[in-house]
């Protein structure tokens, strides 16, 4: 450790103003603060600095993603071996999935961080940790078989047009990870929808046993074949085809606990998304016009990306509502719209992505009205007080 510190100290002058590599200062700074605690102190006035900075926040979210990631690896292998009629055990399945998922994660990070580094150099900003979580979220919401160049393209789209254009981390209107998914969803629907893409190797079809369709629960529901659904328990555990990270509600709940206990994710948003889903689910149950609507409302919580979206996507502090009342409204509408899109629009089997992106757009408006109503309420209270004084 000491020698590392010394090397960095020795290199430092080259990157300072006027040094040989002064243009790469933010790259250097990024690496230094990645390795060691930043020495930056505030010069003027009395400031209390909390140790919870962007780096800490992002690290917690990465930890909260671990259950989902690990289970995703296992399930990827499991689905693959099921499709070819083998059962090599948990470890082999996990290893298979890990090897398949690794290239996606590497491509996502290399492309995304590369663009962030370049953007930081051009602007003279510090490199920040904003992409660390997005970079891991993106592979988790993709089908495992997605071609790597498509992934790279979607990452570039999301980071440049979803984030850097608006001013970088913390300024984006939309959740960048969902933007990447939406881009691929509309650009290459053949790779993002249908039954074949969710299981590794099913597109090429080599060695697939008869009778294995690879259809996701949502795919079955969209066709009205609710009788063929896997059992509730299987969907809850997550041993079903789907995007890498979305299948297991158990793992997602584990992540949710980490996010809520550390205070990083807003429990209000998570709870209200489920609340919204519950209300819409019950409403559709009451209508019961087709088999999909008759599906018990709690099935919606374990199918598709509903839980994943509620826990990891809707709680994004940048693109979500900031006010406490706003969070309730924002989350509730996400839940409501997700189920509505899902059931009533067969063209888009997964409604969560679109619902969250739509509500991202409305989050500032919700906040605005919450703040305005608060101002009005306090004004009224103040007027009442002055009126009483006058009397």
């Amino acid at each position: 450790m000491n020698s590392l510190r010394k090397t960095i100290d020795k290199l430092k002058p080259h990157f300072e103003e006027g040094g040989r590599f002064s243009k790469l200062r933010s790259v250097f700074e990024g690496f230094e603060s990645f390795l060691f605690v930043s020495e930056k102190v505030t010069f003027r006035g009395a400031h209390i600095r909390d140790s919870i900075d962007l780096k800490r926040t992002m690290t917690v979210v990465i930890i909260a993603l671990m259950p989902v990631l690990l289970f995703g690896c296992y399930n990827t292998g499991l689905q693959h071996f099921r499709s070819i009629g083998e059962d090599p055990g948990v470890l082999a399945s996990f290893w298979f999935g890990f090897v398949k998922l690794l290239p996606l994660i590497i491509v996502s990070y290399v492309v995304g961080l590369g663009i962030e580094f370049i953007a930081a150099q051009i602007r003279g900003h510090e490199i920040n940790e904003g992409y660390l979580v997005t970079g891991l979220l993106i592979p988790l919401i993709m089908p495992i078989d997605i071609p790597l160049w498509m992934l790279a393209l979607s990452v570039a789209f999301a980071v440049i047009l979803g984030k850097e254009v608006f001013g970088g981390t913390g300024m984006n209107i939309f959740n960048p990870a969902l933007l990447a998914r939406a881009f691929l969803f509309f650009s290459y629907p053949g790779w993002m929808t249908g039954d074949k893409v969710w299981t590794e190797g099913l597109v090429s079809g080599a060695g697939v046993i008869d009778g294995y369709s690879g259809a996701t629960p949502l795919g079955l529901c969209a066709l009205g074949e609710t009788a063929k659904l896997p059992s509730f328990m299987n969907m809850f555990l997550g041993t079903i085809p789907g995007s890498v990270g979305e299948t297991s509600t158990v793992a997602i709940l584990l992540g949710a606990v980490i996010l809520i206990v550390t205070g990083i994710g807003s429990w209000k948003i998570i709870v209200s998304v489920f609340g919204g889903g519950l209300v819409m689910g019950l409403l559709l149950n009451a209508l019961s016009a087709n088999p999909y609507m008759e599906l018990p409302f709690y099935y919606h919580f374990v199918m598709g990306g509903f839980a994943f979206g509620a826990v990891y996507m809707a709680t994004d502090p940048v693109s979500g509502s900031q006010t406490e009342t706003g969070k309730w409204i924002y989350g509730f509408l996400i839940g409501l719209l997700s189920i509505l899109f899902r059931v009533l629009n067969p063209a888009y089997p997964e409604g969560v992505m679109l619902a969250i992106l739509l509500m991202n757009l409305f989050a500032p408006l919700i906040d605005y009205y919450v703040v305005q109503s608060n101002i009005r309420r306090r004004l009224k209270r103040a007027q009442l007080a002055t009126n009483n004084l006058v009397k």
Binding site: W149, V165, F183, F186, S187, G190, W191
Partner: protein, 216 residues
């Protein structure tokens, strides 16, 4: 005639009317007018070209007509008079297209008729032709049409190439053989939102080259 200090036909001032609209005062990227048709007709290059040509003809000719009558148009009914002129020209363009380029006319469908409501044309008549002589008005119309057209052509070039893999219907990407290594057409390029994003990118590019265009 009436003017005492007559400008030569291609004086610097007149040339500027033509060129300014293509870059510094572009109707789409700077004035942000005529966006809807720019989104609707730019899926393929060919309809975009025809649309650009049609709008250029309508705006140039209507500019001349209105500029010639500008002293005789009562102020209170000038919008109606302008609309009559534009509508007449649009119907002529529409009929010509139907007669000589029926397939393109079908692709453009309602958008030829909607040239009437194109803000660029009304805007130029109100802002320029009502106060200038026919010749500068003609140049101004040509310039605006060209400025509108060049954006349409750039947008449709990228949308057709990346969305359908063709240019003017010719399968460029297939001939290059890029599909064999796993490339696929981008379906989002065909959807209208992507046209808006491409226009946005052009605006970005233009303003980063010409900082004076950036709004405060």
């Amino acid at each position: 005639m009436e003017g005492k200090e007559k400008d030569p036909l291609f004086s610097g001032k007149n040339i500027k009317l033509l060129t300014d609209q293509i870059n510094r005062n572009n109707p789409i990227t700077v004035q942000v007018l005529g966006i809807c048709s720019a989104l609707a007709v730019t899926v393929k290059l060919k309809p975009a070209l025809v649309m650009a040509l049609s709008v250029t003809i309508v705006v140039a000719v209507s500019n001349v007509v209105i500029a010639a009558m500008r002293k005789y148009i009562p102020d209170r009914i000038r919008i109606i008079v302008q609309l009559v002129v534009i509508a007449t020209l649009v119907i002529i363009v529409d009929q010509v297209l139907k007669a000589y380029a029926f397939d393109v006319s079908k692709q453009l469908s309602v958008f030829v008729g909607l040239i009437i409501t194109n803000c660029i044309i009304m805007g130029r008549l109100e802002a320029f032709a009502m106060a200038n002589k026919p010749w500068p008005s003609f140049l101004d119309g040509l310039g605006n049409g060209a400025g509108y057209g060049i954006i349409l052509i750039i947008v449709s070039f990228f949308r057709e190439l990346l969305g359908s893999g063709t240019l003017m219907g010719y399968p460029v990407l297939e001939k290059i053989g890029i599909y064999r290594i796993g490339y696929e057409n981008n379906g989002m390029m065909i959807l209208p939102p992507m046209a808006l994003i491409v226009v946005g990118l052009i605006i970005w590019f233009q303003r980063s080259r010409n900082k004076s265009l950036i709004e405060k």
